[in-house]
């Protein structure tokens, strides 16, 4: 073999970079992968909102929660404009779903999802 002094180290670096997830994960948490707990199934089953609308399924919420939240938000804003007393409505998701850390951050942190709208700049963290 020719130039093995340059080629072998280069190849070794390449293989280390390609297999980065393998040794990184095994070194960092020794194979103990933390996954967020799935939301309580009983909580979602057959729940209906005050306006009679049914709670969407867990799969649909996971896929499209932003779209639902947006509609929710628009409705709430429209309702607030009609209201005479201008009393701020409270966020109703969190009434059942516990804390932001548990319910939003657990998934968003796991996948390092940065594309979140700035909900918490106005709304108070429960």
């Amino acid at each position: 073999m020719y130039d093995s002094g340059k080629i072998i180290p280069g190849l070794l670096i390449f293989v280390l970079l390609i297999t980065l997830p393998i040794w990184y994960n095994n070194l960092s948490n020794a194979g103990q992968v933390k996954t967020p707990e799935p939301p309580d199934k009983g909580m979602l089953m057959g729940f209906t909102f005050a306006n009679g609308q049914e709670h969407p399924s867990a799969a649909e919420m996971r896929a499209k929660h932003m779209e639902h939240l947006k509609i929710f938000h628009a409705n709430a804003v429209a309702k607030l404009a009609e209201q005479k007393d201008k009393k701020m409505p409270t966020m109703s998701c969190m009434m059942c779903h516990g804390s932001k850390e548990q319910f939003c951050d657990s998934c968003h942190a796991t996948i390092s999802e940065k594309k979140v709208p700035d909900c918490w700049e106005c709304h108070q963290k429960p």
Binding site: M1, Y2, S4, F14, V15, P21, G31, A59, A63, M66
Partner: protein, 338 residues
């Protein structure tokens, strides 16, 4: 017409993954067995290919020079086009690997009225090549957020840098590189379709990687922006982490579009070492780029030259002295007496 077969193969691969995961219930095959096999083929095939190249001797000093070489001190020389030292070679290689410098000199020959022969530099290939390759790099690095736990700061920072986050319409938030990689790939494909000389020399194995990459990119984009139902990204990370820690778990109910994406990526990995995509490793091993133009300063010995021992006249005479005396040929030293 050479694009029909590769296009059909890519479509067939996507359909196989869709049918296999959605109808036949072969999620463990497409989610665990195939990715492992593909990664094994990729790493071992890549190493085999590079070591195969490393075993091939280079008989001559063959750097391509396209500028004034080193001569007299007062002659201005081109350090990058005719490098003589290791440092200059490294500079040339760096610009080649990171900026695709040789594509910058891609020329188009044409005859203008007169008639005048003109060579015009066309940089579209360079531009879309850069666009594709750097987008690909960023997309691959971004995907590390699904493979690493905990996610390193660099990766999440890259993720935010790459994304256009729209405050009012979060569902329209997108990654810049998602659009750029598709633009680059479509332009490179269009180049093969429209430029007649390029179309003439394009083969099935030129079209296949392009179609495969377009398939991967479009299935990824579809999954992220359009067919979101059933693409639970937390479950997908669970699968990825299970694969990397060799304790694969298969979360239920991942949509078929994910398996299509994964199968196309696996196909790319498996195909990589046996195709022109090996230019990834090959660019470092090109003798025409990585050798110094110093054949007039240092002797370059062909590695397969036979080992010829010097044979002096004195030793020649020692070997044949008796025969030479017998034939009456004059010798410098007589036979020892007695």
């Amino acid at each position: 017409m050479k694009y029909i077969f590769p296009l059909a193969v890519v479509i067939a691969l996507a359909v196989i993954a869709w049918i296999g995961s959605a109808i036949l219930g072969l999620q463990d095959l497409f989610g665990i067995v195939v990715p492992y096999a593909a990664l094994f083929l990729f790493v071992s095939g890549f190493c085999w290919r590079v070591l195969y190249w490393a075993r091939s001797p280079v008989p001559f000093k063959i750097p391509t020079t396209c500028g004034q070489g080193y001569s007299m001190p007062w002659v201005k020389r081109d350090k990058l086009e005719a490098p003589v030292s290791t440092g200059e070679v490294l500079g040339r290689m760096f610009l080649e690997v990171f900026l695709f410098r040789s594509l910058w000199r891609n020329t188009k020959t044409s005859i203008k009225p007169g008639p005048v022969l003109s060579y015009k530099s066309t940089r579209w290939l360079w531009f879309f090549g850069i666009l594709f390759h750097y987008s690909m790099l960023l997309v691959v690095l971004r995907h590390l957020r699904l493979f690493l736990e905990p996610v390193p700061f660099v990766i999440s920072a890259l993720d935010s840098l790459d994304g256009v986050s729209l405050h009012l319409t979060p569902e329209l938030s997108m990654y810049v590189t998602d659009a750029l990689i598709l633009l680059g790939l479509l332009a490179l494909l269009l180049r093969r379709f429209t430029l007649r000389p390029v179309r003439y020399i394009s083969l099935a194995n030129d079209y296949f990687p392009l179609f495969l990459l377009i398939g991967i990119v479009s299935s990824g984009i579809t999954m992220r922006y359009f067919l979101r139902t059933g693409v639970d990204i937390v479950a997908i990370k669970q699968l990825a982490l299970g694969l990397t820690t060799f304790k694969p778990v298969l979360p239920a109910d991942i949509a078929p579009i994910f398996y299509v994406h994964l199968f196309l990526v696996s196909s790319l990995l498996a195909y990589f070492p046996f195709s022109k995509l090996m230019h990834m490793g090959g660019v470092f091993l090109s003798p025409t780029r990585n050798m110094a133009n110093d054949s007039r300063m240092r002797r370059y010995v062909n590695p397969w030259n036979p080992d010829i021992k010097p044979h002096s006249y004195a030793s020649y005479e020692d070997e044949f002295r008796a025969d030479m005396i017998e034939q009456g040929i004059p010798v410098e030293k007589e036979l020892p007496q007695g």
